[in-house]
């Protein structure tokens, strides 16, 4: 009898651990997936606090001045994307969040934010728009934020700058034998180029014309043919700036961020990458959704792009996958991924705002942008 009692107790433990925890942690996911304003404004208000009192590069500890700068810049960029998405979905919130997007752009333009890129190139990205050099990440991400601001506020004071950046990016893309721009001298990342292409598509949408449709279409054809891994269907993380041959594996962090960016430029390619990522990288542990940084047969280390990689599962890839799940209508995966973000993110609610203790400014901004990514892609 004692054996039966112990067996039933153990069985209850196992069944409860396998079924209850992830559902508990995912309890807010349904409202976020449905786009309910209350759940979104809590996240947006948490990010607003970072925008109003932006963190210094010292808030991060990557061990590299460049990466600390990148992360400070990236936090503002993702904050702009998330706040703009909420403003576009809920027009009554547009005045407040639109103003915050403007503030994000001003932070991104500030010399301190731009210095990580300027130091690498030996020139300021905006001051050298007439030149030939890439600046793919800085200009692509900045131009995305500007494009979103123009959608929220058609009278955006950044519109003229957005047009100048767009002309420079399109001209450089057309001149590139790889149809890719360098992020830093000698460093070329396809995912940063998906941000460039998304920013050009957004600019056209905001301006109601198709000025950049042709160069974007040509670059997308090249991206699909040359930089999507034929075996896995994932996006190659880095390529040689001279030959375009892969310098890194096709990986989760790059692919899933590209799924989000490409939803603004090429819904079909975004979908194809999402399907590949879900197939090759998606997984569950006790119902909690996780995403591999590398395909199952590929060994690899964590780095600045992946964030911490634990048992093969990447923090960045798992977070970015939230956007793909929402954009491409995979609610079950969205719930399980959100459960993981909730469990390890440690949300802290205060005064109508939600922040994630483990996320900091970049984590909060990313989660806002990813969980509010427009279902079905931007309309």
């Amino acid at each position: 009898m004692r054996f039966a009692r112990v067996s039933f107790t153990l069985l209850a433990f196992v069944v409860a651990v396998a079924t209850v925890p992830w559902r508990l942690a995912a309890r807010d996911a349904g409202a976020l997936y449905a786009g309910e304003p209350a759940s979104r404004t809590a996240l947006a208000n948490g990010v607003a606090a970072w925008v109003e009192a932006p963190p210094a590069a010292a808030a991060f500890a990557t061990g590299s001045e460049r990466f600390d700068g990148e992360w400070t810049f990236g936090a503002q960029m993702m904050a702009a994307m998330g706040l703009a998405q909420v403003a576009l979905a809920h027009p009554e919130l547009a005045p407040r969040y639109g103003a915050l997007v403007d503030t994000c752009i001003m932070h991104m333009l500030a010399a301190e934010s731009a210095s990580f890129d300027a130091r690498a190139w030996g020139e300021d990205a905006v001051a050298s728009l007439e030149g030939p050099r890439g600046h793919a990440a800085y200009l692509g991400y900045l131009n995305l934020a500007i494009g979103m601001h123009r959608l929220v506020d058609p009278a955006s004071r950044h519109a003229a700058l957005g047009d100048r950046i767009s002309r420079a990016l399109a001209r450089r893309l057309e001149a590139s034998p790889l149809a890719l721009l360098e992020t830093y001298p000698g460093e070329t990342y396809p995912v940063d180029n998906t941000a460039v292409l998304a920013s050009l598509a957004l600019r056209d949408r905001a301006a109601h014309d198709d000025t950049f449709a042709a160069p974007v279409a040509r670059a997308l054809v090249s991206l699909r043919a040359r930089y999507v891994d034929r075996t896995t269907g994932l996006l190659v993380q880095a390529v040689d700036s001279g030959s375009g041959t892969p310098r890194d594996a096709a990986r989760g962090s790059g692919t899933l961020l590209a799924v989000y960016f490409l939803s603004f430029a090429d819904a079909a390619l975004s979908r194809a990458l999402w399907d590949a990522a879900a197939r090759e990288l998606g997984d569950h542990v006790l119902g909690f959704g996780v995403t591999r940084e590398y395909p199952r047969e590929t060994a690899g280390q964590g780095d600045i792009d992946s964030g911490p990689v634990v048992f093969g599962y990447g923090v960045s890839a798992t977070g970015f996958a939230l956007a793909g799940a929402r954009i491409h209508g995979d609610e079950a995966r969205f719930r399980s991924l959100y459960a993981t973000a909730h469990l390890f993110g440690a949300p802290v609610d205060s005064g109508g705002a939600r922040r994630f203790a483990s996320g900091g400014p970049l984590g909060d901004a990313l989660l806002l942008a990813m969980t509010t990514a427009p279902a079905g892609g931007p309309s």
């Binding site: 107790t9 209850a12 069944v15 651990v17 942690a25 469990l343 440690a346 802290v348 203790a357 900091g360």
Partner: protein, 99 residues
Amino acid sequence: MSRLTRVCLSLPILAVAAELLARALDAWGFGGKLLSMGTHTPLWALAGGALLVGLRVLLFVVGPGLVAAAVVAALARRLRPTEAVAGGHGAGGGLAWRR
């Protein structure tokens, strides 16, 4: 009260501790340090991260299992086989509520 039940009753205390720790770490700018984890991550952030994750896994993952196990164990103690009664009344080995 069984040991398992006592453990379950301590879960609310752990929940308060985890919430206070998360708020303190958030106030100290812990998230940025942890997410960019590397050789330059301060020791306090690594220790805080390990403690916070440990507490949350205990609460959210192990906790529901402990509660379910405690409930089943308590039910099992109440549901015991009746013993054969001399004289033939109520004889048998079936389960009956213990009184």
